[in-house]
Amino acid sequence: MKPCLEIDHMWKRMGKFKLIDISMRIMVGEYFVVLGPSGAGKTLLLQVIAGILQPDRGRIIIDGVDVTKAPPEKRNVGYVPQNYALFPHLTVFDNIAFGLKLKRLSREEIQEKVREVAEKLSIEDLLYRKPGTLSGGEAQRVALARALAIKPKLLLLDEPLSAVDPVLRWEVRDYLRRVHREFGTTVIHVTHDFTEALALADRIAVLNGGKVEQIGPPYEVFYKPRSEFVAWFTRTGNIYKGRARPIGNGLSIVEVGPLSFTVCGEYEGKVAISFRPEYVTISKSKIKSSARNEIEGEIEDYIDEGALILLKIRSMGLEVKAYITKSSFSDLGLKQGERVYLYIKASQIHVIK
């Protein structure tokens, strides 16, 4: 597979904020999510890719062509900003036709292409309305249609779900997946919501303070975070600093305060460990388990999150979070103040050096 976009050691200063030495390769047809908190530099990165801003250093290569100095109109990159930015003085049809008219296509060709993209996105009935009369969801579809009509090499989506009603978010997420499949366009989607990234991405780049913390497939980013920030931001839940020492057989012990965790791999010195709450098994009494880590603690609090319940367990001053299904919670008859045993497999504890 060949790269659609290559960012090569790119720096960009904007006031006091800067993007620092960003490098990434996005493959043709990939759905790539840039994940990060507000102020991480996600929108700035998109604007540099779109050519709205020029980088201070480094190169931007689209489809093998160095476009670092090229203006946005020479890049063939579709851009859908957070507020969709539909042209309010034009009808939906003219919004979609905007880029096609600039390509000096004939009237018939424009009609045909607008209808084609409108049909694929199910917005044929909106074509003669003005943007001001559209709902948020409709406006989003029109903005997508407008960007896709020019058959861009790359589609940039800035927080596409942030303005969508939370009830409709799943629906829109599925819609984006369908659009990506149907058009086959390479997508860069920027978001601060890790569930969105998990659901949509082929690969994720985690951005923080203008720096890329980690790039990889969702599984890797969520289960093998490369930094404490990534672990925290992807709601790993359990992150602790400790001191490691190898104990042979490819295992190490990490001492976190009074607790010791056995982990896979040989580590020495200061490390951080993380494990997701869904990897913790809970029992009211001691059980025989293959898990090497057993912790005894007391349920301090629990939060009903719908399908699952998040337990907060205190063990020798350390808070450990664990997920349990609602039915297990009631079957075990768990309550606040109850003493429980937690089991975590060594292989499911991730070590961050």
Binding site: I52, E73, V77, R146
Partner: protein, 254 residues
């Protein structure tokens, strides 16, 4: 009624009455004399001249001021701030001083005036002198209105237009200008109203041919209040109509 409301209403109504009473009295007293203007050829000529010169001045300001207002709205930085400060100078000057500045810079013996006179533009006591004086004092009004118009256009609209293949110029003409068009019209009308009402700068640069504002001063000084009643009332009516149109245009977009 609360005490706060009484306090605010009292002060507000005093100022409103202070502004409205002269206008109402002018219309009531001068209204019956309006017909006199129909046979006053000098006044009709002066009004026509004021209108033509005002429109020429506003068209020139619109042509040169629109790109300038766009630049001021989009390009931030020291240079933009300096340019903006200079543009506001005519607002702070006594208008007679503005007239003297225009005369000094563009009279036919000054280097720039020589260049202009080669193009057939001589400003001393001429139509072009009136236009120059009007343009000098009314430019800031147009630029302020137009800049506010461009400021109100979401920059993301321009970014999207560029990403769809539009150059900066195409984006300006297809997106920014149409969206700020109401402000362009408003700026045009405001600068036209300002130009027509200008007297100080115009009298210094071009006393002749006489514009209506000069004529009113001349008649008032020569013959007193009664002599300018009809003309003043007509001008007041014209100004009111202009502002009614302006408000309608601005409301229309809300």
């Amino acid at each position: 009624m609360s005490r706060e409301l009484v306090f605010f209403s009292t002060f507000s109504s005093i100022l409103v009455l202070f502004l409205v009473i002269p206008l109402v009295i002018c219309l009531v007293v001068g209204g019956p004399h309006i017909v006199e203007i129909a046979s006053d050829l000098e006044a009709l000529d002066a009004m026509r001249l004021s209108f033509y010169a005002g429109v020429t001045s506003s068209l020139l300001i619109t042509s040169f001021g629109t790109p300038l207002a766009y630049l001021l709205s989009r390009k931030k930085g020291m240079l933009a701030n300096i340019v903006e400060s200079f543009l506001e100078i005519p607002l702070a000057l006594p208008h007679s001083v503005a007239g003297i500045m225009v005369l000094l810079a563009y009279n036919s013996r000054a280097p720039l005036g020589l260049l202009l006179s080669n193009l057939g533009i001589i400003i001393e006591d001429s139509y072009w002198g009136i236009v120059f004086a009007m343009a000098f004092v009314s430019s800031p009004i147009f630029i302020t209105a137009m800049r506010a118009g461009f400021d109100s256009v979401d920059i993301e609209l321009e970014n999207v237009a560029r990403s769809l293949g539009a150059s900066e110029i195409e984006t300006f003409f297809k997106i920014s200008l149409p969206l700020a068009f109401r402000h362009l019209v408003a700026g045009f009308i405001l600068s036209l109203a300002r130009a027509i009402s200008e007297v100080g700068a115009v009298m210094i640069v071009a006393y002749y041919p006489k514009v209506v504002a000069t004529l009113i001063i001349e008649r008032f000084l020569g013959y007193g209040l009664r002599a300018v009643l009809a003309l003043s009332t007509v001008l007041a009516l014209v100004s009111l109509t202009v502002f009614a149109i302006l408000r309608f245009l601005l409301k229309g977009g809300e």
